[in-house]
């Protein structure tokens, strides 16, 4: 069984797992290694390139960055499959024909789907051997029918993959839930930081109107009222209260897609209510 991983999944599996103690960085569970020992992780070259460009985005310091960089070149590079270029290209072209939206695209999800087809048809005539793991809602929606009609395998999220590992007792269900909460924390980081920054500013001795304005910002952020928030940024008091941090955080907040937090919350609820484990007997 091949497990092919999207860039976001690899980043999530590494970032949520990092342990920093006394300037020493390590991985608590090393999920990738455990997955690879049980199944087989494979990625096309494109994913490795994307990783190199994105791995540091959520990392806090140089030690973590250095660690992940080393991990990537030492372990993840081994998962990169040296494909037959011609066959792979033919597979890629077929996807582009069936998915016109990706005609001019060249992203990881497109390459992964092409890679799944390549493995199942060009390499071996097999079915259901390749499982695509991604947390990108759009990609899931775009490619799920293609996977189905070609019997390539399933499309899973990172949490699905961990649940699968719990069936094989590689990790516990509790570990899966812990990971889910930590991933949620990471997904909602922009929101959390912004709320915290506003609260911190409010503790200062400011004129009543500025404090009240900060409360209004707080409420509009908490309600995800983007229109009101955009108006707030035009308000005369915004210039008085804003600092560099607030400005960056608000921009990030307005550009962030928090749908993945909601999806994750839904998943956690589903796991708790519908996923069978010993405690449900």
């Amino acid at each position: 069984m091949n497990i092919i991983l999207d860039t976001c999944t690899i980043n999530n599996l590494l970032q949520v797992d990092l342990l920093l103690k006394n300037e020493n960085c390590s991985l608590e569970y090393d999920y990738l290694k455990r997955i690879h020992n049980k199944f087989k992780i494979k990625i096309p070259k494109k994913i490795y390139e994307e990783l190199k460009n994105t791995f540091s985005k959520n990392l806090n310091n140089g030690i973590e960055k250095q660690f992940v960089q080393n991990y990537m070149s030492r372990y993840i590079s081994q998962y990169v499959d040296q494909v037959n270029e011609e066959d792979f290209k033919s597979s890629l072209n077929f996807i582009k024909i069936t998915q016109p939206k990706y005609q001019d695209e060249d992203n990881g999800e497109l390459h992964l789907t092409a890679y799944a087809l390549y493995l199942n048809r060009y390499q071996d005539m097999t079915a259901f051997q390749t499982h695509f793991v991604t947390d990108d809602d759009e990609a899931i929606l775009d490619f799920k029918d293609f996977f189905k009609i070609n019997f390539l395998g399933t499309i899973l999220t990172t949490i699905d993959l961990l649940l699968l590992m719990s069936i094989y007792e590689i990790i516990s269900l509790n570990d899966v839930l812990k990971f889910s909460y930590n991933l949620k924390k990471q997904y909602s980081q922009t929101y959390n930081q912004l709320i915290y920054e506003i609260k911190t500013l409010q503790k200062k001795e400011l004129p009543a109107q500025e404090i009240a304005f900060l409360s209004r910002l707080h409420d509009n952020i908490n309600d995800f009222n983007y229109d009101a928030l955009k108006k707030d940024r035009e308000h005369k008091l915004y210039k008085k209260i804003k600092n560099k941090k607030i400005e960056i955080f608000i921009k990030n907040f307005l550009n962030e897609d928090f749908n993945k937090v909601t999806m994750l919350e839904k998943k956690i609820t589903e796991i708790k209510s519908q996923y069978w484990d010993l405690s449900k007997i």
Binding site: N60, K184, K185, S188, A212, S215, L237
Partner: protein, 375 residues
């Protein structure tokens, strides 16, 4: 600024705590107050340590409650009315700025309950039970020989000022240089989280022994929801420490955990952070619900009528309750923070405009200035 024209000594709708924190006042929120006091009463009368969750939206008054019950003489009045020993109550904000989150928490603890105070309380405990019994307590309650040695060193100091006391103070604040350790005759520095849990637990257990000196030790852990802005390792470390600390302090501790609901953080997430062991202990929950219109009016009246703010013989600053109601109906969801901000702005505007009475017409003139105003 003088609010004399409005019959007030100062602005009752404070946005930051007063310099003299004994002057923190409680207004309205009668149900919350009664629930908190019920929990405190139970704690002063029973032995088992407990966790109570203070749950509410932003601005619902949780921090204010922590300050009111740790800085004013309210607890003293409560305990003397019910004839139990006093309560020691401190407020600590969730540490999040340093890499040593447990050490930072311990420093905040000592900032609120200094080693000098601890020394004095140990002396009182000694006077109550005798030195032998106190040392026996230390041995059996600390469960850790090195911590017992530290606390016995403290009890062996006759009086302050003392060189040994100063060294001990440095030691407790993290000084583990060889010179300090040798001169105190202690083998190791106080540098792991479990030892910090041990020393805090031992101190609390000794001074609340038999509920003699203190009936209860209260810690208000404020802004616990910010645990989601602390990195995973530190958050794990802190909750592990908290678990150890609570396990080790099985008697006479009451921990209020202030938790502000956020969009992506609810009860489920909190259990995720605290772990099953702590969540199952936090059986009681106090809801800081948003006040109704009527409750808000009572809140405003009680604040303005408080002798700390009201000038004797002068009238209420508003012409009637209709004006207050009209304002409250135009500021969306009500909470204490929003009411304080809105009414601070109104009082300031009245001051600038030289008004003696705040009327509906005046409110209508200044709606642009009232940030929370909604048509």
């Amino acid at each position: 600024m003088t609010y004399e024209n409005l019959g007030l000594k100062e602005n009752p709708f404070r946005l930051t705590p007063p310099l003299d924190q004994k002057e923190i006042v409680w207004a309205g929120m009668a149900e919350v107050k009664s629930n908190i006091e019920k929990r405190i009463r139970i704690a002063t009368l029973t032995k088992a340590s407990r966790i109570v969750l203070n749950w509410g939206s932003y601005g619902s008054g949780k921090t204010h409650a922590s300050l009111y019950y740790s800085k004013t003489d309210r607890l003293q009045r409560m305990t003397s009315e019910s004839g139990v020993s006093p309560v020691k109550s401190i407020k600590i904000t969730l540490p999040r700025s340093s890499n040593n989150i447990v050490q930072e928490f311990f420093r905040s603890f000592l900032g609120q309950y200094s080693l000098e105070d601890i020394f004095a309380d140990f002396k009182k405990t000694q006077a109550e039970f005798g030195l032998d019994k106190l040392e026996l307590m230390i041995d059996s309650l600390s469960n850790d020989k090195s911590i017992a040695d530290v606390l016995k060193k403290l009890t062996n100091i006759e009086s302050l000022p003392s060189d040994d006391f100063n060294k001990l103070k440095n030691y407790i604040h993290g000084d583990n240089t060889k010179a300090t350790l040798t001169s105190l005759g202690l083998p190791l520095g106080l540098n792991n989280d479990e030892q910090i849990a041990n020393i805090m637990a031992s101190i609390i257990s000794c001074i609340t022994y038999d509920k003699k000196l203190y009936s209860t030790f209260i810690i208000w852990l404020d802004e616990f929801e910010d645990i989601d802005t602390v990195n995973k390792n530190l958050a794990d470390r802190f909750t592990t420490f908290l678990r150890q600390f609570i396990d080790k302090t099985s008697n006479n501790l009451l921990l209020f955990l202030n938790f502000t609901q956020k969009t992506f953080m609810d009860m489920e997430d909190l259990s995720g952070y605290l772990g099953d062991a702590l969540t199952s202990r936090a059986k009681a929950k106090i809801d800081f619900e948003n006040p109704t219109l009527e409750e808000s009016i009572i809140y405003i009246h009680e604040l303005c009528d408080n002798p700390l703010f009201k000038i004797d013989g002068k009238d209420f600053p508003f012409d009637n309750d209709e004006t207050i109601k009209y304002t409250l109906n135009h500021i969306g969801n009500l909470n204490a923070r929003k009411i304080n901000e809105t009414f601070s702005i109104i009082l300031e505007m009245a001051l600038i405009e030289g008004k003696n009475k705040i009327t509906k017409d005046f409110i209508n003139e200044i709606t642009d200035e009232i940030i929370a105003w909604e048509e």
